[in-house]
């Protein structure tokens, strides 16, 4: 695979919501390309008729009953205590859409 373009690296950074410096972008163009190049060894492997393996256990149907478990809930104090960006029991984030309800 050819070296990743700056645009590709920026696109992936956007998907990942990472802000990269110019130097980081340049660095990733080389580094990611090298790593991905290494993956090309997989082209040798014949995988026709092989199922993809997403779970290593072979388990199926591990489901929970629809019964509330109040002890699993966090008290609101606990839910909110890991940040100070709180207003009236809400978490506060910068506004993404310019609009007022």
């Amino acid at each position: 695979m050819a070296k990743l373009s700056e645009k590709q690296v920026r696109y992936v950074a956007g998907l990942s919501r990472l802000t990269l410096t110019k130097a980081e972008v340049k660095n990733f163009q080389t580094e990611l390309s090298q790593i991905i190049d290494h993956f090309s060894e997989l082209n040798e492997v014949e995988v026709d008729n092989v199922e993809p393996m997403s779970h290593p256990t072979g388990l199926t149907d591990v489901l929970a009953d629809d019964e509330p478990n109040p002890t699993s809930s966090l008290t609101s104090n606990k839910a909110l205590n890991a940040t100070n960006k709180i207003h009236n029991n809400y978490f506060v984030v910068p506004q993404l859409i310019d609009k007022e309800d």
Binding site: T60, A64, P68, S72, F91, P94, L96, K99, D101
Partner: protein, 439 residues
């Protein structure tokens, strides 16, 4: 230019009314609660938390699929759908990608047209955002009480050509869900949410190469109006030889027009991957069949049943359009069987007088109807008087009776009822007449 035909597809989200959330055992009910009081490590997306899938929500989704004649996947799984938004605490939504629980459903409109339902899958709802100005800064406030509530998503094929069909479809879907008892499908509360995509094509042409998404529309009526407005707008653009810009649009109720919500449609790259924390799900065909056989009567079945009772279209629709009234009516006619009250009478007092609102129990309504009937009957004294008058006027018939021609009783009763203007209670009339004849 040839005739332009609308091509409309729908995406409908419906929150399930399970006791607990989709992937944790927090309560699923989230309306009017203090923000962030119904959350746990799972639905708050804390480090180290793991999902465990709600079995009932899965079967509720399958029930919905069955009600819409869907194929139920024998093997299914959950997937992670990645995007960043503050109401999505994990940075991904657990949803279903290539193996939804239900596929290939159908829905037949009253005009006979069939709408194909591409898929119905299950996912988790997001938190809620409120946009506000706090301390002079424009911010969004996030409440995760709704985060993780089971949410079904139904996607139709773009088979609609008429906004009024869309309206009929959606109302019936809402009704079906209520009949199944799996959601209150309340548009106002947001437990049912609508999105439509619409484009116009020339007759005999394939699908258009653009589509407009209509989002954030919170009533059936407004969706219908938005679709109509969109048809007009797109027609105008196409007639000038251009193509509408592919985008998401909202609906302005006041101006009755649609408006662009995002100028640039970002490419959606959700990086789906199988959810490693939830083992796949197998669905046994026999269990599906058992569930299918146990489904409650759906609106259409109720319509057929009510039709057999000779009810008018208007009565049928009024009763069927409210599951609770339909069930109330069912119970009422069942009780009334032993009395001289017809299904029509019950339907009439329900539809025209809303009497079912006054009597929460159907038995109460029937009791009341019986009392009304009684109050209307001629009194014992009036009946006696009428019997005397009729017997005096028909001495021949009386003689016939005494000579063994008992069939004259029918004639005499008819005469008595005439005298009473039809207000004679049958039993009472018979009793008094027999007594007089035997004297």
């Amino acid at each position: 230019m040839k005739n332009l035909i609308p091509v409309i597809g729908l995406e409908v989200h419906i929150e399930l009314n399970t006791a607990t959330k989709m992937f944790c055992r927090c309560r699923a009910y989230h309306f009017g609660e203090k923000p962030n009081t119904n959350v746990c490590p799972v639905c708050l997306g804390l480090p180290g938390a793991l999902p465990s899938a709600n079995k009932k929500a899965i079967w509720d989704t399958i029930k919905f699929g069955l009600a819409l004649n869907s194929q139920i996947s024998s093997f299914s799984k959950f997937d992670r759908k990645h995007y960043f938004y503050p109401d999505l605490p994990k940075g991904y939504q657990i949803s279903q990608y290539d193996l939804p629980f239900c596929t290939k459903g159908t829905f037949t409109l009253k005009n006979g047209k069939v709408i194909n339902i591409r898929r119905i899958h299950l996912e988790e709802d997001t938190g809620k955002l409120i946009h506000k100005t706090v301390d002079g800064k424009k911010v969004s406030l996030v409440d995760y009480n709704r985060s993780g509530v089971p949410l079904m998503e139904m996607v139709t094929e773009p088979d609609f050509t008429d906004p009024s069909d869309v309206d009929e479809f959606l109302k019936e879907i809402q009704l079906i869900v209520k009949y199944l008892g799996i959601s209150d499908a309340d548009m106002e509360k947001g437990s049912m949410r609508l999105e439509a995509n619409i484009s116009l094509k020339e007759e005999d042409q394939g699908l258009p190469d653009y589509k407009i998404e209509l989002k954030n529309i919170n009533s059936f009526r407004f969706l219908s109006k938005a679709l109509q407005a969109e048809i007009v707008r797109q027609k105008q653009i196409l007639e000038t030889g251009s193509k509408p810009v592919q985008e998401t649009r909202g609906y302005d109720e006041v101006k009755n027009t649609t408006f662009s919500q995002r100028t640039k449609e970002e490419a959606q790259d959700y990086r789906y991957m199988p959810e490693p924390d939830i083992p796949p799900i197998t669905i046994n065909e026999k269990v599906v069949l058992r569930i299918k056989n146990k489904l409650p009567d759906l609106p259409n079945q109720k319509r057929k049943i009510f039709k057999k009772l000779n009810l008018s279209e208007h009565y049928i629709e009024t009763l069927v359009s409210d599951k609770n009234r339909a069930l109330y009516f069912d119970e009422a006619i069942n009780i009334a069987k032993d009395h001289n009250i017809s299904a029509k009478e019950i339907a009439s007092v329900m539809v025209n007088q809303n009497m079912d609102l006054k009597y929460p129990e159907p038995a109460g309504l029937i009791k009341k109807l019986l009392e009304i009937q009684k109050a209307d009957y001629a009194s014992q004294k009036e009946v006696k008087g009428a019997v005397n008058v009729v017997l005096k006027q028909n001495t021949k018939a009386v003689d016939d009776y005494k000579n063994g021609k008992t069939q004259v009783v029918g004639f005499l009763i008819g005469q008595i009822q005439k005298e009473l203007k039809g207000k004679g209670e049958v039993k009472l009339v018979q009793e008094i007449l027999r007594k007089k004849l035997e004297e």
